[in-house]
């Protein structure tokens, strides 16, 4: 009995140790962003060959100078504004296309709707790497080089498939009975959608909005390809590409920007991750 308890305790310790190791690996770069963002330059730029200077901690009191420089001395706020504007436009286009499509695939298209739904989702897998070269020609043809409108046009190519798929799953989860009751009560199908389905789907639509926006915020390849002037960049392009003076990176401000941008997305993602995973693996987990 005691031996068994001892074994259980060992297992418990192994469990915690394992969880701790994984967590440390996952958050180490974020800890590093935090340290870098608030360290004084004198504390930051000490060569790693100096073994007496411990880089893992604040050796001098933290400073706000990098954050100040980021907000006042760099175009960070312009990039934030650009991202929000592009994001808002993309969200509108996405909703206009994805909400009706999601409902249509869930309720109005029968057997081929399922296949078409999977087909639309598979286009989400077509990577920017395959498309940026043909898009370069399309964007040149439209005269949209170095314009945020290029991004507004291109970003829905991945937000629409993704959100359509997400919303399709969501509309399916609304009980058919409620809608049929509405039809019996004399509503048309369109009336049912407007008066019954949409109010019930608000949280699903909100999820789609948030994911569309975060997908825009995370995008890097198209922005790198099509936006060249610093004033028109989005956050995920401007921070890694333009916070440089000659060959010297502003590491403090750069890590401050990375941290400030990451935290809100991370929180939002965590709130919605279960629905995200359910959407991605629908079919494989149905089990």
């Amino acid at each position: 009995m005691t031996r068994r308890r001892w074994l259980r305790r060992v297992k418990r310790i192994a469990l915690y140790a394992g969880a701790a190791l994984f967590t440390l690996f996952a958050i180490f770069p974020f800890y590093w962003m935090l340290l870098t963002a608030f360290k004084t330059n004198r504390d930051l730029y000490v060569g790693a060959t100096d073994l007496s200077h411990i880089p893992w901690i604040f050796n001098e009191p933290p400073t706000l100078q990098h954050v100040q420089l980021l907000f006042l001395g760099t175009p960070y706020l312009t990039w934030v504004r650009n991202t929000v504007l592009v994001g808002a436009a993309v969200v509108v286009i996405t909703l206009v296309c994805a909400v009706p499509a999601g409902y249509s695939l869930a309720r109005l298209s029968g057997r081929w709707g399922e296949r078409l739904g999977i087909g639309i989702f598979l286009t989400y897998l077509v990577p920017p790497t395959l498309l940026f070269i043909p898009f370069a020609r399309v964007i040149a043809l439209l005269g949209l080089q170095n314009s945020p409108w290029a991004l507004v046009l291109i970003y829905p190519t991945f937000t629409i498939p993704f959100c359509t798929w997400l919303l399709m799953g969501f509309f399916r989860s609304i009980p058919r009975d409620i809608e049929e009751q509405g039809l019996i009560d004399g509503y048309s199908r369109w009336g049912v959608i407007r008066a019954i389905v949409l109010p019930l789907a608000v949280s699903g639509i909100l999820t789609a909005v948030i994911f569309a926006f975060t997908l825009v915020l995370q995008e890097f390849v198209y922005a790198l390809t099509f936006i060249s002037s610093v004033g028109k960049m989005t956050v995920s392009l401007g921070v890694p590409v333009a916070l440089v003076r000659g060959d010297v990176f502003y590491w403090g401000s750069l890590m401050a920007a990375a941290l400030i941008t990451s935290i809100p997305i991370a929180i939002v993602y965590n709130l919605f991750i279960d629905r995200f995973i359910a959407g991605l693996t629908a079919g494989a987990v149905k089990g």
Binding site: T23, I27, C97, L130, S188, I277, V285
Partner: protein, 314 residues
């Protein structure tokens, strides 16, 4: 009958069957109209460009002019003879295979840990997901700084613990640069895989696994003969996503090494970007990127098969 109807409240709308059927009632047509915007967007801006990519790869096309000249297989002949392209092809395969193997080992382990009930489990899950949520370009910059040749905290720690006698110039040595790139890929993908595997584990019928415990199967036997086979469909999905995301990634390699040192870490996507966008040779860039198409095709087929099998099984 008529008497009954007359007694009904006069303000009630007539039942739907007596109204003329309008568009709002014709479900098939309404369904098609509602689907049209999304479908058109995807066909025009994903389908057509994909086709254009294939066409461009058979042409001599350059940025700056809209000229399009068919040259058959000449782009492919020139890149296949190019040792840098072959290296990029090898690197893409290498990075994808190694990182996916590591990711799966880590993810299955982490999912087993997260499945057990322990204090702080939700916090651990929240923290584990951070690498997946953060924009890849910002994460890549954090790692670039961590691997900095002068200020690398990894070097400092290895030195202090006595594990390193020389010095690691992470982005100055091809092997070290590859290790750095694979580390970032693994770091980014394993949380995502963990959550997917975890979702699969909760869907596996609990009684089967309990039966194995009651029958006295050892931990390893349960893992390899009960749990893993049951998890196979979900692990397949996770691997397919991982393969697509890793093999086509441009941001990590571009921001960490720009393909250096001495062009030794280029992958297909960065080489296509360098030749096609920076070098303005769209035709050649397209022919390099097109080599990712088979990966994509296999992934799509794989996912469809998994989806169909579970459908039949269910």
């Amino acid at each position: 009958m008529t008497a009954l109807r007359r007694e009904a409240h006069p303000s009630l709308a007539p039942p739907a069957i007596f109204r003329r059927r309008t568009l709002a009632d014709r479900e098939d047509l309404l369904g098609r109209i509602m689907l049209a915007p999304a479908l058109i967007y995807v066909i025009v801006l994903v389908g057509a460009p994909l086709l254009l990519a294939v066409l461009l790869s058979f042409s001599a096309s350059f940025a700056g002019s809209l000229e399009f000249r068919w040259i058959g297989l000449r782009n492919f002949a020139s890149i296949l003879a190019d040792s840098q392209f072959r290296l990029a092809l090898r690197n893409t395969t290498l990075f994808t295979v190694i990182s996916q193997i590591l990711v799966m080992i880590l993810a299955v382990t982490a999912a087993h840990i997260l499945e057990a009930a322990f204090a702080g489990r939700r916090v651990v899950r929240f923290l584990l997901l951070l690498p997946w949520a953060v924009p890849v370009s910002l994460a890549a910059m954090a790692w670039t700084w961590i691997f900095d040749s002068t200020f690398s905290v990894i070097n400092w720690t290895l030195k202090v613990t006595g594990l390193l006698s020389g010095w690691f110039y992470w982005f100055g040595d091809p092997t070290l640069a590859m290790i750095a790139i694979i580390t970032v890929h693994v770091w980014r993908m394993f949380p995502f895989a963990t959550v997917i595997v975890l979702a699969g584990m909760t869907a596996v019928p609990q009684d089967i696994r309990e039966a194995a415990v009651i029958d006295g199967a050892s931990f390893w036997r349960r893992l390899f003969q009960v749990n893993l086979p049951l998890l196979l469909p979900i692990i397949t999905v996770s691997v397919l996503f991982g393969v697509v995301f890793t093999s086509t990634d441009l941001g990590v390699v571009w921001l960490l090494t720009r393909g250096g040192p001495y062009n030794s870490t280029h992958v297909l996507s960065t080489l296509a970007f360098q030749r096609g966008i920076l070098g303005a040779n769209l035709g050649q860039g397209a022919s390099i990127a097109i080599f990712l198409l088979p990966v994509l095709f296999l992934a799509a087929v794989g996912m469809l098969r998994v989806a169909r099998r579970t459908e039949v099984g269910a």
